[in-house]
């Protein structure tokens, strides 16, 4: 009986690992291709680890794409957007949950609709507007728009956790003579800090991966965030018969996902908590 259960458990485990292997396969293929030379890619099995490690392609990509500049663009956009959305989101969530806003249902519905809408329906008007006021092509409009739009999602997530905030604490602070602002910053904010950090991280990653606003608002390659600049420079195939260069494309994409990978490996738990925050 015990042996049978062990066998069952092992076989299901192996089946799940097989699915996982399929899921990781593209990453593996990309990794080995990026480390091969052109000729080794053509003549060795595609899944095999390279005989001679070749880092030249990475070198080319870094030189050609000015990765440092793109990285700083990405950071600027992601940090700016996350800061704006979490700050605004906190105020909105506070009004909804603790301030017991009269039309809270309507406000929550507006938040949900805002993050359900297709990005381009908001990016097109912003595009026209930035041209109108002559700020088209600079980075701040990108993170300001992303931050304001993201505030809907962060407000939604924060109010979900703030609804469980112990009311006794707020009443106690009122009795102790704290003003409303003091209650907000001295009582609610410190207790909410872990959730706020989680939402900040989530907003950061979302803004980092965003494409509609950068595509529309940043025509110049030197202002673009890293993933987009790399995608435009090395991946954009001419969609005709002549294909893509496998070695170059894989090295470039690997470089572009390194920062995301770094964040993921370091903050995995917090990220997953953020993703599941809105569902329960």
């Amino acid at each position: 009986m015990k042996l049978k259960r062990f066998a069952k458990r092992t076989s299901i485990g192996l089946a799940l690992l097989a699915v996982t292997a399929i899921w990781l396969a593209p990453m593996w293929l990309t990794l080995v291709a990026s480390l091969k030379s052109e000729s080794e890619y053509k003549h060795s099995p595609v899944w095999a680890w390279p005989k001679y490690l070749n880092f030249d392609t990475f070198h080319d990509v870094i030189l050609h794409a000015d990765v440092a500049q793109k990285l700083s663009n990405s950071l600027q956009i992601a940090l700016g957007a996350a800061t704006i959305s979490v700050t605004m989101g906190f105020f909105i969530a506070y009004a909804i949950s603790i301030g017991r806003l009269k039309y809270r249902g309507a406000v929550i519905a507006i938040c949900v609709i805002t993050f359900a809408l297709p990005q381009e329906s908001m990016a097109f008007p912003v595009y026209t507007f930035t041209k109108l006021i002559d700020v088209y092509g600079s980075i701040p409009p990108v993170y300001i728009s992303l931050g304001i739009l993201g505030s809907a999602f962060s407000a939604y997530l924060l109010q979900a956790t703030m609804n469980h905030f112990p009311r006794e604490l707020i009443e106690a602070s009122h009795i102790d003579g704290a003003s409303r602002l003091q209650t907000m910053f001295r009582v609610v904010f410190p207790v909410m800090r872990p959730s706020i950090a989680t939402v900040f991280l989530l907003m950061f990653v979302n803004a980092w991966n965003e494409y509609w606003f950068p595509i529309l608002l940043l025509p110049d390659n030197k202002d673009q965030p890293l993933p987009m600049a790399i995608a435009e420079a090395f991946g954009q195939p001419s969609f005709t018969s002549n294909g893509i260069d496998p070695v170059l494309a894989s090295a470039a994409s690997l470089l572009a996902i390194l920062p995301s990978l770094f964040i993921y490996l370091n903050f995995q738990k917090a990220l997953v908590r953020g993703v599941t925050l809105g569902t329960n």
Binding site: R9, V46, P118, P246, T276
Partner: protein, 266 residues
């Protein structure tokens, strides 16, 4: 903007009233793109949800011992990996892998003797749809697995144990207990993933570019092409607004549905 004819620069050329909308409804390419978005609900939403419930509960039920939980963590993090990669880079990765002549997939298929399966992924319309659908499942599965796993952890273990004692096998427990208890998670996932399918852009744009010849176009890529390629800003805006309206209506229906569902439980 959607009421005008405007190339995106200079003064607005002409006010058209609802004529852009009339044109769209008569535009065959738009309807083709829209039908693709509906087809993509399958790989973006339905398949990942089913597969996600299944994988999450298998992982939860069979890999919960101390030693196996490390395996479970590995599986979860690996499946979630596609979610954190910027989608345009996901597009590039798949774009080079499925490249018909130099990509790894076809080389691999040929080397293991499955030459007939080595399709021309970017030129054959059906193959392109198939490849794109697989990419979408690849992206979405991690999201559903993570959400379902967190849902399962709040499940009362005694209920499952009692069912086990009463002789219910895994499938029966899955069907009658687990999948029902996960109701709220399933609702949220369906809402977010169906909306995601309707407005899908980057996987299509960066893998196939909507091609070959519009065979994988969706409303978002179609309006993008009109906006930039055709300089038809008014027309593109109208396409986007139609899409937005469809999504808002869908979201409102789900929200209403969810609320009445919750009230029914109370």
């Amino acid at each position: 903007m959607s009421f005008t004819q405007w190339p995106g620069y200079g003064p607005i050329q002409e006010f058209l009233g609802f004529r852009n909308y009339q044109r769209i409804f008569a535009d065959n390419d738009f309807w083709v793109a829209f039908s693709h978005a509906l087809i993509f609900v399958i790989p973006m939403s339905i398949v990942p949800t089913l597969l996600g419930v299944f994988i999450a509960s298998l992982t939860f039920d069979f890999l919960s011992t101390r030693y196996a939980s490390k395996v479970a963590t590995f599986i979860r993090s690996s499946l979630y990996l596609p979610q954190i990669i910027p989608v345009m880079i996901t597009g590039i990765i798949w774009r080079w892998i499925i490249d018909p002549s130099s990509g790894s997939l076809n080389i691999l298929l040929k080397s293991i003797g499955l030459k007939s399966l080595a399709l021309n992924w970017l030129v054959d319309p059906n193959a392109a749809m198939l490849a794109l659908s697989f990419v979408m499942v690849w992206i979405q599965l991690g999201y559903t697995v993570v959400v379902f796993l967190s849902g399962l952890s709040r499940l009362n273990p005694y209920v499952l144990e009692a069912a086990h004692m009463d002789g219910a096998n895994w499938w029966q427990r899955f069907r009658f207990i687990t999948s029902r208890e996960l109701g709220p998670e399933i609702a949220v996932i369906l809402l977010t993933t169906v909306v995601g399918a309707l407005k899908v852009f980057a996987p299509v744009y960066y893998v196939t570019g909507g091609g070959p010849d519009g065979a994988t176009n969706v409303p978002s890529t179609y309006s993008f092409q009109a906006f930039f390629g055709g300089n038809k800003v008014g027309y593109a805006s109208a396409v986007t607004l139609i899409l937005a309206t469809v999504i808002v209506i869908f979201a409102l229906i789900i929200i209403r549905f969810q609320r009445t569902g919750l009230r029914g439980e109370e």
